[in-house]
Symmetry: C2
Subunit: 161 residues, 2 copies
DNA sequence: TAAATTTACGTAACCAGTTACGTAAATGTG
DNA sequence: CACATTTACGTAACTGGTTACGTAAATTTA
């Protein structure tokens, strides 16, 4: 038996391999943060960047930008608040909304965090042989999924069989 | 603001995009199974295939073949047992081990399941434009990660800075 | 302007993984 | 052969997502 069954399985193994890879990146990044005693999580990265770029954003705006569900953002934000990285105020014009922004602590720590993020980016570039082929392939796949998603394609294939 | 921040972020967005993609495949496949009233989960696919190929396997053997932790396999297997797809007997020679195998129900349902899996494979081929470039790119990435993982590469880059 | 609808956010319950720890069986060793 | 070590599996607690449902504020509409 081979050492990696998913690799053997060609197309059918793809989804599992994507999962394994994304998990590996996440766990390894988290390990590194812990080793360096930083109380941040890997998936906060993009939240930090978005709030750095946009000053204030709402839960919904973050969810759209990252294409996650709003409860996912709520969970993230609550943890970041608990650690003191996020401040929020009720929106003046729409009391349903919270305007989220980086705290002083976050702004102060950002330069340090940036070093980790840069290291991550460089490590990724190494892993991808400094070319964007994988990125481009993924972009094509994402575009195709946006046209007609996996579910719908399976459905059609099952019906037309 | 762009509609997809991760896409904008190049290398840094990659890990999030892998996560999104693998989640999308999983959720959409699960939806399809539910629509067709099949009480199976997406991640059982490879377990079914492995047990079809190998007759009996232990928890550890499955974990190695799929490169998952053993508790992950235990959880999977318990659910599959609960649904009656897996039988297990204590190994005759080593009482710590369970020999896992497909139940009669599983064997009988396999041809039906195979149709879903084939549809999934075809849908994936469509999404990949019937070429294996993405698979190959991923394989290279996996090989590089096996050489020196992401964590170690980040570490080096941080130290040498 | 009153009522219906939509939007923003929160909560609960679920699924998929992980690491850390514990126990019992098998194996290695003095 | 007794004891120490390793291996196989199980359980608990955690992270990261999801969908489904509820509530309050804003907006639309009759």
């Amino acid at each position: 038996m081979s050492e990696d069954f998913l690799l053997e399985m060609g197309y059918s193994g793809l989804t599992g391999r994507l999962k394994r890879l994304s998990d590996a990146f996440m766990y390894q990044t988290r390990d590194l943060y812990r080793e360096y005693d930083e109380d941040i999580e890997p998936n906060w990265h993009m939240i930090f960047l978005l709030l750095q770029k946009n000053e204030t954003m709402t839960v919904t705006a973050l969810a759209e930008a990252l294409q996650l569900s709003h409860p996912a953002i709520v969970k993230l934000i609550n943890k970041m608040k608990k650690k003191g990285y996020i401040d929020s105020v009720v929106d003046a014009e729409d009391k349903r909304k919270y305007d989220l922004m980086l705290s002083q602590k976050a702004k102060q720590k950002l330069p340090k965090f940036q070093k980790y993020w840069e290291a991550g980016e460089k490590a990724l570039q190494e892993l991808l042989n400094h070319n964007k082929q994988l990125l481009e392939q993924l972009e094509q796949l994402e575009a195709k999924m946006a046209e007609t998603d996996f579910r719908t394609r399976m459905d059609k294939l099952l019906v037309n069989e």
